[in-house]
């Protein structure tokens, strides 16, 4: 049984990817592939939900660079949500935080990206960046 799993869904023009467990090299590569597929299919908005991520190691972190780079190459937007404080610090150490938008939860990310929550309700168009 693996310590990592991944699910994703798309909500209109936003892809939400939810990794779970331990993001090491294998997990990060799967994330990279999953996000790559969405980007190649033309989606310009990606949200990665960290609420079920337990650990990230620096090998996985280095592969996140590819995800960020790929997103930028596609002219797309990348948002992270539900990050624990320690995970945020890990990404800060890598200097990645400046290249993504970080939000408290999916609603906030959707508000930023679309002006609407994932269930389609309008919200005030404010970002609540962490």
């Amino acid at each position: 049984m693996s310590n990592f799993s991944l699910s994703s869904r798309s909500v209109k023009d936003v892809a939400v990817i939810t990794p779970r467990g331990y993001i090491n090299d294998i997990g990060a590569v799967r994330l990279e592939q999953e996000s790559g597929q969405y980007l190649d299919n033309g989606l310009k908005k990606l949200v990665v939900d960290f609420s079920d991520v337990q650990f990230i190691n620096t090998i996985g972190l280095s592969i996140f660079l590819s995800i960020v780079q790929n997103t930028q190459d596609h002219g797309s937007q990348l948002c992270f949500t539900n990050m624990k404080k320690d995970h945020l610090e890990i990404f800060e150490i890598a200097g990645l935080i400046g290249h993504v938008k970080v939000f408290k939860d999916e609603n906030a990310a959707f508000t930023y990206l679309n002006g609407r929550t994932p269930d389609g309700k309008k919200t005030a168009s404010q970002t609540t960046a962490v």
């Binding site: 331990y22 620096t58 890598a94």
Partner: protein, 556 residues
Amino acid sequence: MLTSSLSEEAFFGRQDELSSLYKRALRAEQGASRSVVLAGPRGIGKTEILRHLFGRLFWTQERVFPFLFTFNPALLSVAAFSKAYLSAFLCQRLAFEKREQALLYRDGISIDALSGLIEEREVAWAREILFQFLQCSRDPVEALRIALAAPHRSMLSTKIPVAVLIDDFHLVGRLHMDGVPDHRLSHLFEEPLGHGKTPHMITGNMAELQEMLVTSGLERFPVRPLGLEGTSSLAQYVMKRCETEGNVPPLLLRRLDGNPFYLERVLARAGEKNHPVEQDFWNAYLREITDGALSLYWKKVFKSFFPDLGLRRVALETIHKINHASEDLPVQRIVKSFARSDSQAQDIVHNLYLAGFINGEFGAFRKVEDAVLRDLIDCLYQREILEKAAREVERDILESIIARREQAVRFELVLPMAREAELVAAQSLEQIGKNLNLSQETVGQMQIAVIEACINALEHSGGMGDQVYVSIAVDEDQLEVSVESAGREFIMQETGEPFRDQEAVKASGRGWGIKLIKRFVDQVTFEKTARGTKIVLIKKLERPAGIQKEDIVNRE
């Protein structure tokens, strides 16, 4: 002495503090700077920070004039103090005009010589202040007022603000007139302390400063123990200076707790040996607390507060009792224990508190957090009161330190060189944390560090062994995890460059591991062992909340 005894290269772990105070000084230009007290225990580096700040302000900018003054215990009569203060101010101010180093060292300059300098340079405002000061030779209080107001008056005349840096400020309470201390004299500092264009940055014995009304409203600027980087840099510097190298035992580093004075003394003594090993470091520590510089320093403090030998003995017994009590001791218990009157006991504990040997408030007292000081007191007690031989004392002290360590709860894991084996260590930590009621934050951060350490060990064993040994120890105030494996040294270089070029940063990504570890733990050391290499990670556990008399408020 105005300049630091430490060169820039030897001044470790204080750049943040220095930068913050430097900016505070420069804000005096807008009149927006407030006076502040640098707060911290003895030996933590407050004086060095002030001296380095003076150097930086004096040599690298022109917007604010720095004035550094250290109270001299031999010059506490109002008349002598006023003269010394004003002379020092005027000399340093004149030196600042053209950055004349020689003028900075004119301690004890006569009034005539000073007057001559002022006339020669035609500094009208200085002439006027000096004239008024001399007019008040029969009114020492007024003379003091004039001296203390000199920075503000110079600012008004020259439009250049002044950062007034004062060391050993606690001695202000001992200013006297004709041998009679007069606490009201310290109130004359109130007005100078309040000017936004002449902020005062003061330091001294914290216990005494806290009892002074004149400093009670001032912001506190905490000077904390050196962190991981500062400690490590200082240790390397001292070893290099001694032209040797060696691994400082983590338990000893923890005991020295980032105090630069303690670190420098103990490591310098250990460094006298060629390639000191663990026992040599411990021997150096024991030497320092029995008859080395550390011991001499604290004995001097002790004698200054308890000049009478008989009383000193009672004081020593009192500290020992407080240090070994399981709870705070009220004064009444001390009165009973030593058959002293209430007032005698009050005096003794009050002086012990002011000297920094004990902590306490509201009539109850407890041991200080400074483990080195507690060891030193134990040594002194055993030598002076129990009359034990030096060797026996040293052995007992060391055994008690090791025994406390051995009271730690320990868990040992042996991980195979298998994929994701590091998760076993991380999950074990989680369960240990739950069992021992550790904070989730502490455990979470240690888990991140341990994962990296295990990956490092697994990657760099170089095929020389097939196991990684993880040891987890928890005692009353720290969580310690060591990760040991066969093979060459861990990769210790750091990169952590911000993301720019993908390929370059990917290649450097592995260097983040050590950076991450250092971010999430309080202390990390690397050791060569019989098995190979070991990394030791330490996180301090939060102390129980209690009333802290030193109310550390704010720092920029």
